[in-house]
Symmetry: D2
Subunit: 157 residues, 4 copies
């Protein structure tokens, strides 16, 4: 299985990921966008703005975690059956260095894809011009909800 991680995916799956991502109000609110979508490997990019800061002026760990969580979730989702939905069971992040720079890039990578559970490794880099530095690593467990639509069951209000 691991051999296939990182391969291109077909347009239908990519479109499904894009649609789901655009239903995540938080991603738009944080200014995050899908940077790369491959099989079991998804990167989300989030440019710096003061609305994302913690008290020292760096990226807040909450925003760092938000894009890491979504990156891992969509990495898992690329390998799920059509009529399913993805749910984060848990995740853990270590914050290695101050997250400062032009943007953060979070990558989720599938390490184990099971019928029910998928395990991802997460990496977040701070990017400034050509410099990249690792600011966080994580591990995440996701659940495949078969037969559940990846959209609200009824329109939000």
């Amino acid at each position: 299985m691991n051999a296939e991680i990182g391969e291109p995916i077909d347009k239908g799956i990519e479109q499904r990921i894009q649609n789901s991502f655009h239903r995540q109000g938080l991603m738009a609110h944080l200014g995050a966008s899908l940077h790369s979508v491959r099989r079991g490997l998804v990167t989300i990019r989030m440019p710096f703005r003061p609305e994302l800061s913690q008290q020292h002026g760096y990226f807040h760990a909450g925003g760092t975690s938000a894009i890491a969580d979504s990156a891992g979730g969509y990495a898992a989702f690329t390998m799920f059956p059509d009529d399913s939905s993805v749910l984060t069971v848990e995740f853990k992040v270590n914050l290695l260095n101050p997250a400062q720079g032009d943007a953060l890039e979070a990558t989720g990578k599938v390490v184990k894809s099971g019928r029910t559970l998928t395990i991802c490794q997460l990496e977040v880099f701070a990017v400034s011009g050509h410099r990249r530095s690792l600011v966080a690593i994580g591990q995440q467990t996701l659940m495949c909800m078969v037969g559940r639509q990846d959209a609200p069951q009824k329109p939000l209000n």
Copy 2:
């Protein structure tokens, strides 16, 4: 030590927490506010809005984690010396139930306060009218940076 967790704190410390919280651009951007600040025990409240949603219309785990992380950070900070700053080393959250309701309330509670490291337990509840349901639990490690100001070293401009 644990006997004192939850006791009122003096105004100076509360003001320091308030000031730090208001420097966190992300908290304002998410619409979160400090709900309660006691010794080693801080609660942050975040009302629902579509900008906080994931693809099913619930609160996104990233927002849930952001307020849980800040709640634990400030719970630790209430017990730090004056000339110090707080840094999240790592945290882990389990998402127990769909996070939906009028608001989320995240509480960080100090379990062990050491000279260098502080460990917190985190709980996030979804609140709808009088109903409260536990949606996430977490554990967090924080570091006390003695002699480091809790503010940007130079203006962000």
Copy 3:
């Protein structure tokens, strides 16, 4: 559901837990025993011996984790259907204080019991005479394997 955590369980379930525990070669090898088995709440006790030590002479975190993991696993198992088996998906522990004393007592407590996944909180105390001190806390995700026997499929060897 939480109201019932800690209630006595019927003899059949307790026997099932005892049988499973005794099939865990590691628990016997570490000198650990089931101390208390209640609904969603299990305690395992492990007296100190030099074979359990790390380099400073305290209990090794590996032993601490082993009994915490089994305590959580059996806490979950008390709430599973008859024809099922329990599997640890992941766990995380924070080691708060040096684990030294006459014995360690690890308690696993079910926080959320779902059809597929169960989430436990873990606590480990060091006990010396009448003194108890908290040495580790953890969070754990467990999976219910319905229709799978809780024993080796064929004899070992």
Copy 4:
């Protein structure tokens, strides 16, 4: 820094790691041995025996975690100053596949080496003849205790 991870270390440091490992009563009790010691990269091997099993006859997650924890601890220790000692702050493991085979091999690898805290990634493989399969991954935070001897302060008993 990362460029140096995996390089050979001088004999003095390797001897210090060996001495410390041999003071860990638990490692001997589990039948574990140091397999490879390089800069920031340590592997521990543990052959299967029934004393290491869980209820299905596989390696118990507690033993898996014990060697993963020690591997990460010693990986960190290779990069610490002479007069220091290593302490596990926390770790998290995901158990990906049933841990069965001739032996387990756990590798700890330093991802970030700070003055006070070091972060490691952990991997555990099950080995059977020439087959290796990944059975667990983890993340770990370690603390450098400067000025503290890596041995009991006074003889045990």
